[in-house]
Amino acid sequence: MAEPAKLLDVEHLTMRFGGLTAVSDLSFVARAGEITAVIGPNGAGKTTVFNCITGFYRPTSGSLALAHADGRRYALEALPGHRIARHAKVARTFQNIRLFAGMTVLENLMVAQHNVLMPSVANGLLAVFGLGGYRRTERAAVEKATFWLQAIDLLKRADDPAGSLPYGAQRRLEIARAMCTDPVLLCLDEPAAGLNPRESEELSELLRRIRADGCSILLIEHDMGVVMRISDHIVVLDHGKKISDGAPAAVRADPRVIAAYLGEGDEDEEPAPLAAGVG
């Protein structure tokens, strides 16, 4: 079987904050149609990698090349944040949920389709007078929102404020909101954090479904159950460096990974899920 095409090619990525090197000379590849997990102990630099990919940080050095299926290429390290989401089609969620809490669930999904609904400010102002074919676009946007609300089982709560949803539902909504931007790469920062086992299972199901629909996923996750179950490919970071890279089974058996999790003072946090995965 031929290997899927490269979607995101991270080469020699380095990110320094003053004297602190958060990510050092990191290279890995995320392939189209796959779920790539980035794991590692706390403080390993996973979220920093995400922030570089999604344009929130500008890397100190290195390149982040994104290739769409139609051949268009984007150098993410040089694009401003909103262009990465809009043109390069990379969407993300946040470790600490960042929903528009005072807006309804539906509004959250509508804001995500801002760029479809408003090609230009001039059109946006024309729409004040009901011109510019706005109604049709809006109806399509509501339909897409409804589709995703069904997918995450929140259709009944569409008109409730996002801030009033239970935690697990907020996590799902954030994923749906990211999906409403039609991404080719979805970056999820600890989507299973704080979920109960049943919710994690539902989350895994949702992510598999998103992958099946053709969107690739980059995943930071501490819940090894979820990671091992759904990832096609795992990259392990420790202290900003890549220590392992490969299929779940290979990574699980890698002595360096086990050392990083068990041997370097992270006993309180990580051994249980990994040990379960290893066993």
Binding site: R98, A112, L117, A158, A178
Partner: protein, 428 residues
């Protein structure tokens, strides 16, 4: 506050403590009085006045504790209250609109004049509401755009001799340009820093107006600004065929001009309201609100935060400029002293008092604050005191403004009111 059973001794002790605090506060403030005499100042003590105040504090505190202990259990939740206010708002809004539309039919010139003033502030409030209420950008220099609009109209009309209706859009657009110009340097600023820079911007405009004498007339201002016309009909008593009175064959009266001005500002204010309500339901307005809720999430969704912020500043400034042009034509005279910081503060407090983002609340707050101060004109020296106390009481009772809560811009089913606690106030 936890429901702790209140014993009479505890209540008395509490009241005594309050009285002690009051004594500390007032013993010098009220108990002593300086009176000028021929030989200089003389200090007299006023134990009676002090005793009255302390007695009032003691009894007042006891009553307050009593009320807390005996009032029926289960206070209405803020959410229910918000919903109640909104439900009432559905009727209050149209009633007020009807009253506003018919006001000139049954009131005299003075009331109409006050109405014009109130409506100017309603319009300013609605304009600022776009920036502060929707986009969550704290703007303390809103008066700058009001000034730009007023001076634009004043200078354009006196230099090029064009009428109000031609100059009005130009004045608005110029103000919007200044909105964008202010927007650029403050794009990266948030919260307190944004507030301070906008404050400085407002002052800069005023100082420029004072000092650029050969362009703006300096402290003397611009006078003889043309009055607005109704399709070319003037409101003067000259009897010429192009005056309103002669054209319609009615006897001339000064009130006609006031009624006309009243309807002009009512129209402008309603336009502001309509545009803000429309924009709220469109992607641009939704992006403003999303910006207020979470700027980082906006960026992650591909929204150009720069453009979105600038449009908010520009839209707010546009309506500020319209209001300014109207102000200039109403007064027939503009000078820098009409555009001091207190005006910005007044408009901002109207917006905050009314409830950020609430159109009805802002209108009510403008009515209360501007109309109220007019009402208290007879007590000139206590006016600001009453005003300040009212603000404090208001913010204690309803910290999110008269009409708090937010109506969703789109809904699959019925629109449900969103409680104010969930809605972000914006960090700039």
């Amino acid at each position: 506050m936890s429901a702790r059973p209140l014993t009479p001794t505890a209540a008395l002790r509490d009241a005594a403590l309050s009285t002690l605090v009051a004594f500390g506060l007032f013993c010098a403030l009220i108990g002593l009085k300086l009176t000028p005499t021929d030989a200089g100042m003389k200090l007299t003590d006023r134990p009676a006045a002090l005793a009255i105040i302390l007695g009032a504090v003691f009894v007042g505190r006891l009553l307050m504790l009593g009320w807390r202990a005996w009032r029926p259990a289960g206070t209405p939740s803020p959410r229910l209250l918000a919903e109640g206010v909104t439900r009432a708002g559905r009727y209050v809004g149209p009633v007020f609109l009807l009253l506003a539309l018919t006001l000139p039919l049954y009131s005299g010139r003075y009331v109409i004049d006050v109405g014009i003033l109130v409506l100017t502030y309603v319009m300013l409030g609605w304009g600022l509401n776009i920036v502060v209420g929707l986009a969550g950008l704290l703007d303390l220099g809103y008066v700058a755009f009001y000034a730009v609009g007023a001076y634009s109209y004043a200078l354009i009309s006196t230099t090029f001799h064009v009428g109000f209706w031609t100059a009005l859009p130009v004045a608005g657009l110029l103000a919007a340009c200044w909105g964008v110009m202010l927007g650029f340097p403050v794009l990266r600023l948030r919260g307190d820093y944004l507030a301070i820079v906008t404050l400085a911007f407002g002052e800069i405009i005023r100082v420029v107006l004072i000092n650029w004498t050969n362009f703006t007339g300096g402290p003397n201002g611009v006078s003889d600004i043309p009055r607005p016309t109704l399709f070319g009909l003037k409101f003067t008593g000259s009897g010429d065929p192009d005056t309103f009175a002669a054209f319609f064959h009615v006897p001339y009266s000064v009130t006609q001009r006031f009624v006309f001005l009243y309807y002009v500002i009512l129209g402008l204010a309603l336009l502001t309201n309509w545009v803000s309500l429309r924009l709220r339901r469109l992607p641009l307005g939704r992006a403003w609100e999303a910006l207020r809720e979470d700027e980082i999430a906006c960026r992650a969704l591909g929204i150009n935060v720069t453009i979105t912020k600038l449009t908010a500043f520009a839209m707010g400034a546009l309506f500020g400029g319209f209001a300014g042009a109207f102000f200039a034509t109403r007064q027939g005279f503009v000078s820098p002293e009409s555009f001091t910081f207190i005006e910005s503060a007044l408009v901002l407090s109207i917006v905050v008092l009314g409830g950020l983002g609430s159109q009805l609340g802002v209108a009510l707050a403008a009515l209360v604050m501007i109309g109220g101060t007019e009402l208290f004109r007879d007590f000139a020296e206590y006016r600001m005191l009453i005003f300040g106390v009212a603000l404090v009481v208001m913010m204690v009772l309803r910290p999110r403004g008269l009409v708090s809560g937010r109506t969703p811009s789109i809904a699959l089913g019925a629109r449900k009111q969103i409680a104010a606690e969930l809605v972000a106030q914006g960090r700039g």
